[in-house]
């Protein structure tokens, strides 16, 4: 305890130097925390969009349907969804189940054509799983048989509005060309580029007629507890048997989450550089502390202080600087992060015309992971202590008598 007191006083012998050294650590950690908040925000926004509009938590397909992202084969479909619904009906953690049909088609406004993803939905069950119905910004939800919902961006690109007529052209299950005329009943604005720019939603029975098929392509399942997703997946898999397959939204979008991981590590490296430079600053400060106190260390040694205690004292000093720096860094990082959480960063004007791989529109909001903040704090302190060891080594080699004579 005495040694700690000594270290504490030493730290404040050069107040300005201590503050600058600690501030460097603070900046490094603050950047780390801010980056993490931003990436978490992006990830959860992306995951949220995927869950709320595209795949839900889990999807059941016929065996062999899901081969890779972006392929929608119509030869392996779920012919009899009732069977599955019965089997999984008992599972309590399931909040809702809805059938969907996804198919590639072309949308034609009379002048131009554009490839989009057609999605047949069951409007009764859809709302238990997806949020689509709550995102209608103009017009209304699907009502009449020939109603179609399209994204607001797609509508703008194709000069369509509520009440406009359009034709969907596709090839049915057997490869025959089919077309069907629709009226736009409403425009949706989900924040998910797939839905807003590249999709059209219609009644599921119309989609079945268009594709000359009776079944559906997938059953979408929303869970009550997304922490136990894998458990639920296994439970469902064992119920539905070998003819069907079930995937989590993460498996279905592996590419996106992989890219996010790469971006994360890239930004972490940059933040790490800041911390390394700050650590060099600590080395410098501790080196100065050792050098200027050589006679003092000599005296301490002469009075019976062992090397162990000397090292301990300097480590406390480094640790105190580290703790202050890390505390302030976390404070700064959290402050910036809170801004991101509550106000967000609007990059949409910068990126409006681009088809991004990431399923979000660029109004970034953050999400703070407090475990990471804690981890970053500990990292800051540990780094400060470790880098102190090198300059302190010198102090241990001093001979008391010689050190006392040192000017």
């Amino acid at each position: 305890m005495k040694i700690f007191n000594l270290a504490w006083r030493n730290v404040f012998r050069h107040r300005r130097r201590t503050i600058i050294t600690a501030a460097a650590i603070s900046v490094g950690l603050a950047v780390m925390i801010y980056m993490d908040t931003m990436m978490n925000g992006l990830d959860s926004l992306a995951a949220g969009n995927i869950i709320d509009f595209e795949t839900s938590h889990l999807e059941i397909f016929a065996k062999g349907y899901y081969r890779e992202e972006g392929l929608f084969p119509l030869d392996t479909i779920i012919e009899n969804p009732e069977f599955i619904l019965q089997r999984i009906g008992k599972i309590k953690t399931i909040k809702g189940v809805t059938p969907r049909i996804k198919f590639q088609c072309r949308i034609n406004n009379g002048i131009d054509e554009l490839p989009v993803l057609g999605i047949g939905i069951d409007i009764e069950k859809e709302s238990k799983v997806f949020e689509t119905a709550n995102t209608v910004v103009r017009g209304g939800y699907l009502k009449n048989q020939d109603d179609i919902l399209i994204g607001k961006d797609l509508a703008k690109d194709m000069d369509l509005d509520v009440g406009s007529f359009l034709t969907i052209i596709t090839r049915d299950q057997y490869g025959t060309y089919e077309a069907y005329d629709f009226t736009v009943s409403g425009l949706i604005n989900t924040g998910h580029p797939l839905l807003d720019r590249n999709a059209a939603l219609m009644h599921i029975n119309i989609a079945q007629r268009l594709l000359s098929m009776h079944g559906i392509t997938e059953l979408c399942i929303k869970t009550r507890d997304d922490n136990k997703l894998m458990q639920l997946k296994q439970e469902i898999a064992s119920e539905i048997g070998k003819n069907f397959e079930v995937y989590t939204y993460k498996e279905l979008n592996a590419g996106i989450f992989e890219i996010s991981g790469m971006k994360r590590s890239g930004q972490f490296m940059l933040a790490l550089v800041v911390v390394i430079i700050a650590a060099v600053g600590i080395i410098n400060t501790m080196l100065m502390a050792v050098m200027e106190r050589i006679p003092e260390i000599g005296m301490l040694k002469a009075m019976g202080f062992g090397n162990y205690n000397i090292v301990k004292m300097f480590i406390y000093e480094g640790g105190i600087i580290g703790i202050f720096g890390s505390l302030f860094g976390c404070f700064l990082g959290l402050l910036a992060s809170f801004h991101l959480v509550y106000f967000g960063l609007d990059l949409s004007h910068m990126l409006k015309d681009l088809d991004m791989i990431y399923p979000v529109k660029f109004i970034i909001t953050g999400e703070i992971n407090y475990m990471i903040v804690l981890g970053v704090f500990i990292f800051g302190v540990v780094v400060s202590v470790i880098v102190t060891l090198w300059p302190v080594r010198k102090a241990t080699k001093l001979e008391p008598v010689e050190a006392l004579r040192h000017v």
Binding site: L71, N284, L287
Partner: protein, 404 residues
């Protein structure tokens, strides 16, 4: 001059401290040069792919086509009149190649895969896109036959190999249904996910016939002698009002990346500031431990300017050494990666066709990046050193001499 000598000696009074201060600057400058070379490499990579595969150095379309480009409206194709070619008779223009872009759904029976077709002049394209170098199976297109080359991922998805037949069913520019059977001559791989997954090329005349576009093309791609002059040349071409003449520098993706690299400069600033904090610390200590000495110098007649100059020179030497080391290591690293390249195929395979991000990034350091990196390091240290140093000017020689 003697000030410099003095400063130089002072630098070695506490060699280890000076070197450590220099090292933090060196790390910062290394990272800044490295990151800037990387960003430039990315921009050149994407820019190069945009030139090769999307727009050439300059692209001409009709205004209406450009406005509705997402829909690929064939009805808004260009008329390839002799007058148009006359306008393009410019000293700087090396080559003009017409292309037709069209969208189709491909697939047999149960599959519908949206794909993008390009009708190109096979001979001219070898000098623009270099597609003939990218064939991994079979052979390149030749102008006279009904052949097609397709991306390897698209081929895999359609289960097609060389010698198979690809059926294309689409609509002509006049909206009537049309179709053709084409022999798969070759399979290419560019390494850009969006293109390998969804693009195929057919000979230009075949495309014209298929889409009823005799004498027309959706776009003209122009290659110029000096890409940097593309903006000016585009302005000089000055076609009449219906045409849109766009140099590749105005491509929205390139613009976006340029804005983004600006955001990175905030990062460089943070790194530099943190590095300079070490210098600031060192200078604070220098001033502190030499108060007596400075008092003596002042008492001996050295004026404030010289004292400040002396200490600035000392900081400058630290900054110089640090920046120099950083420049050397950053430069070596960047030039090494310029020739070595960094394989990011994991990233590029999942990008869309809009963002033609090639699989290997070659860093692109320039003398400009290296020199500015060096100067920034030097300048930043000198500026940061200024704050602690100015305190000295207020020292009274007599008092300073008495301090312990």
């Amino acid at each position: 001059m003697y000030l410099l000598k003095l400063a130089y000696r002072n630098f070695f009074r506490n060699t280890r401290r000076s070197i450590i201060s220099g090292i933090s600057v060196a790390i910062a400058i290394t990272v800044i040069i490295f990151a800037q070379s990387y960003m430039r490499g990315v921009i050149e990579n994407i820019g190069g792919n945009i030139v090769r595969l999307i727009s050439g150095h300059i692209r001409i379309t009709t205004k209406e086509y450009e406005r509705r480009e997402r829909m690929i409206p064939l009805s808004e194709a260009l008329d390839l009149t002799p007058e148009l070619y006359d306008e393009l008779d410019h000293d700087e223009i090396l080559m003009v190649s017409p292309r037709i872009k069209f969208g189709v759904l491909l697939g047999e029976e149960e599959l519908n895969i949206p794909a993008l077709g390009y009708a190109i002049d096979p001979d001219k394209e070898t000098n623009i896109s270099g597609l003939d170098q990218r064939i991994i199976e079979g052979s390149y297109l030749d102008a006279s036959s009904n052949g097609v080359i397709i991306g390897n991922e698209l081929a895999r998805r359609l289960d097609l190999g060389v010698g198979d037949t690809l059926t294309i069913i689409t609509r002509t520019a006049y909206d009537s249904p049309t179709g053709i059977n084409l022999l798969v001559k070759g399979i290419f791989s560019i390494g850009i996910g969006g293109i390998d997954r969804s693009v195929f090329y057919i000979p230009f005349n075949v495309g014209q016939k298929l889409l009823d576009l005799e004498g027309r093309a959706t776009e003209l791609v122009i290659i110029v002698k000096d890409p940097d002059k593309a903006i000016n040349i585009a302005r000089e071409i000055g076609l009449h009002g219906d045409h849109s003449v766009v140099p590749f520098q105005y491509n929205p993706i390139l613009k976006y990346i340029n804005t983004f690299s600006f955001v990175y400069s905030i990062f460089y600033a943070i790194i530099l500031i943190v590095a300079c904090s070490t210098i600031a610390n060192t200078m604070i200590m220098v001033v502190f431990e030499r108060t007596k000495e400075i008092g003596m110098m002042k008492a001996m007649g050295l004026n404030n300017l010289s004292v400040v100059g002396l200490l600035i020179l000392e900081a400058g030497i630290i900054g110089f050494v640090g920046s120099f080391l950083g420049t050397v290591s950053g430069g070596i690293l960047s030039y090494w990666l310029k020739y070595q390249g960094v394989d990011l195929s994991m990233m590029s395979s999942s990008t869309s066709a809009d963002m033609p991000f090639g699989p290997i990034i070659y860093f692109s350091p320039t003398p400009m990046i290296i020199i500015t990196g060096f100067l920034f390091g030097l300048l930043a240290t000198v500026i940061v050193a200024f704050l602690p140093i100015t305190r000295i000017t207020k020292l009274e020689p007599a008092k300073a001499l008495k301090t312990v």
